[in-house]
């Protein structure tokens, strides 16, 4: 464990939806260049927790967050941190592929252009190609860049969304059940892609699929009813969990 470098440190994180206390004082350290899987039954707070890491919960008016999420030494909930700049550094991929109803090229190029990462022209073309290559979809779309991104298959759309996310050069990529709407072959491609991407990025993914967590995750965190029950190396969680609840969930006794 000592060789793991901490990327995100969550300290005593509490979250309320109105009066409902959804996350109860979470403490967790997420490691750089690792894939961390968040597992747990529906409604356990794993997606909510994921959305705390890039302040997406701020978009919901009834949500109140307390505690600290320290990324590279800076608490993203500090008053002087702008949520928009947080989301630029912490990218996110959603459960349902949600490309913009624009061309494939524009899907990738829009945000980097707005952020001023590149200017229109050859440097932008390069970034688009590089992002699509990193997302493993370049060969499939290089001839149809002007076609709408919504015309691609579900798996291709999801990889386009990943390309769009890495085009703004984030440090961390959050994935909220990125393969649950996809067929097994597309899922396999996304998983291979995630293993490739962790060399450059820190990946935190929510999944309902135990095998997926076992296949790709370095670390696994088990959530239950807003509490972090257990967090350890994936192998340990799946072979020799410390908590009874974790074992029950993994062996399929509930959830």
């Amino acid at each position: 464990m000592a060789k793991n470098k901490v990327k995100i440190e969550v300290k005593d994180l509490n979250l309320w939806y109105g009066d409902k206390h959804a996350l109860h004082g979470l403490n967790i350290e997420l490691y750089k260049n690792k894939i961390t899987a968040l597992i747990g039954p529906s409604g356990c707070g794993k997606s909510t927790f994921l959305r705390c890491l890039n302040r997406m919960n701020d978009l919901i008016t009834s949500v109140r967050v307390e505690g600290e999420v320290v990324i590279d030494g800076k608490n993203i909930y500090d008053k002087d941190v702008d949520e928009v700049s947080v989301r630029k550094r912490i990218g996110m991929v959603f459960q349902q592929p949600n490309p913009f109803p624009k061309s494939i090229y524009e899907n990738v190029a829009y945000a980097p252009l707005k952020h001023g990462i590149v200017k229109k022209g050859s440097s932008c073309d390069e970034l688009v190609e590089q992002s699509l290559r990193s997302a493993g979809i370049w060969n499939e779309v290089k001839d149809i860049l002007k076609e709408p991104g919504t015309g691609l298959s579900g798996g291709q759309q999801q990889r386009l969304c990943i390309a769009r996310t890495i085009a703004v050069k984030p440090d961390v990529i959050l994935m909220d059940e990125p393969t649950s709407a996809l067929d097994p072959i597309s899922t396999e491609k996304i998983e291979a892609l995630m293993l490739e991407l962790k060399k450059e990025y820190t990946i935190i993914t929510v999944t309902h699929n135990m095998q997926q967590a076992a296949r790709i995750a370095d670390m696994t965190a088990f959530f239950h009813l807003g509490d972090l029950i257990e967090y350890d190396e994936t192998e340990k969680i799946f072979i020799n969990p410390a908590q009874k609840k974790t074992e029950d969930y993994i062996t399929g006794r509930f959830g």
């Binding site: 008016t61 996110m92 349902q96 109803p101 709408p148 015309g151 996310t165």
Partner: protein
């Protein structure tokens, strides 16, 4: 069927009969509404079709100084009652415009009086015995004929029915609606964007929402009173003008635009907004570049429906004086103007039979403009619709 079969269900016959009954009930409703529409359209076409033609009489016109001084000496006295006075009054102007005509005589087609027109169209007419025999003689010589009614499309209102047309009301409608759209479109859409994308859900926004919905259902004449009180009495804008009429209709159209634009914005999936925010885009970037383009067809449809609604509106415009007698087309929004429905309202109240066919013809013009507007709405929606 065998009663022992697993598919045997004695209640099925009755249930199928009920669904059939339901189908025919809904179908008959459709037939009834189509019937109403058909009868209305047929009636308007039958009444209005005769207005397509107008009677002209061939007479000898003498162009001289005497005619300029008194239009009654332009033609032989016995034809005077058969011809349109409004048309005869135009003859001196023709002479002034074209001096070479002076001191010549020429046989030309002159617009006939509306009673002659009614006689030719076999409606009820009122012509003196002496005039009638003159007319019959002219007719025998082939000097009376019906020609295409260009006057209806090129002139404004007139006190002589044969000389009245829809043009000035049409121009008035266009000017009024232009003002309405210029005001209501930006304000309505911007309001919708604020309410849908920026305002927080609380009692205040709910209060606003209820009131905007209520405004859309307020009797339109109240907007006329409001327009009269604010624009004319308070701001001192010219009465009867397209500006005041347009601003009044803008008040009326605003809630419709706000409600429909909000619905269009709300129908944009939340996943698009989330995708934008997750890329670190600001609110403006997400709304302007991703949400509004998707909502645009719906916004346009709502606007055009609001526009069509405003176009058929009469009551509030009567209150602000747009029911005035307007023979010449207005050339700016500050001039006195009338609109098509108000013109129809005026004509419908006239005693002369000739105005009836003009009312029907005017309704047909109004309907065709409305249908073109609605087709435009459908076209725009199809053109800008984003495929998913």
């Amino acid at each position: 069927m065998d009663k022992n079969s697993i598919f045997y269900d004695p209640s099925l016959k009755r249930r199928h009969f009920k669904s059939k009954l339901f189908k025919y009930f809904t179908l008959s409703s459709l037939v009834v509404s189509l019937l109403f529409l058909g009868i209305f359209l047929l009636d308007m076409v039958l009444k209005g079709s005769s207005a397509v033609q107008q009677t002209y009489i061939q007479v000898e016109v003498s162009y001289n100084q005497e005619s300029i001084d008194n239009y009654r000496s332009i033609v032989d006295k016995k034809y005077l009652n058969l011809l349109s006075r409004a048309a005869l009054r135009e003859v001196p102007e023709q002479m002034q415009a074209n001096p070479s005509l002076m001191n010549t005589k020429e046989v030309v087609w002159i617009l006939a009086d509306d009673q002659v027109d009614m006689y030719m169209k076999k409606y009820y007419y009122k012509i003196g015995e002496k005039d009638l025999s003159t007319l019959e003689e002219l007719q025998k010589n082939g000097m009376v004929d019906k020609k295409f009614n260009t006057i209806f499309f090129t002139h404004g209102d007139s006190k002589t029915p044969e000389y009245s047309g829809i043009l000035s009301a049409f121009i008035g409608t266009i000017l009024t609606l232009a003002v309405t759209m210029l005001v209501a479109f930006p304000i309505g859409v911007a309001t919708a964007v604020y309410l849908e994308e920026f305002s927080k859900q609380n009692w205040w926004s709910e209060f606003l929402e209820i009131n905007i919905n209520n405004l859309a259902a307020i009797p339109s004449i109240l907007f006329g009173l409001l327009g009269l009180a604010i624009y004319i009495n308070l701001f001192g804008l010219p009465r009867s003008s397209a500006l005041v009429g347009g601003l009044t209709l803008a008040l009326m159209t605003l809630p419709i635009i706000v409600v429909s634009s909000r619905a269009a914005l709300r129908s944009v999936p939340a996943s698009i907004r989330q995708a934008g925010y997750a890329l670190g885009l600001t609110k403006v970037q997400v709304v302007k570049d991703h949400v509004i383009p998707l909502a645009f067809p719906g916004i346009m449809t709502g606007n055009i429906i609001g526009l069509a609604h405003a176009m058929g509106e009469t009551a509030p415009l009567i209150i602000v004086g747009m029911i005035a007698f307007i023979p010449d087309s207005p050339s700016s929004v500050m001039e006195a103007a009338t609109v098509m429905p108000a013109q129809l309202f005026t004509w419908a109240g006239m005693p002369e039979r000739a105005y009836i066919e003009r009312t029907a013809a005017g309704i047909l013009v109004l309907l065709s403009v409305l249908i073109s507007l609605n087709s435009l709405a459908v076209y725009l929606r199809k053109k800008f619709e984003v495929k998913w």
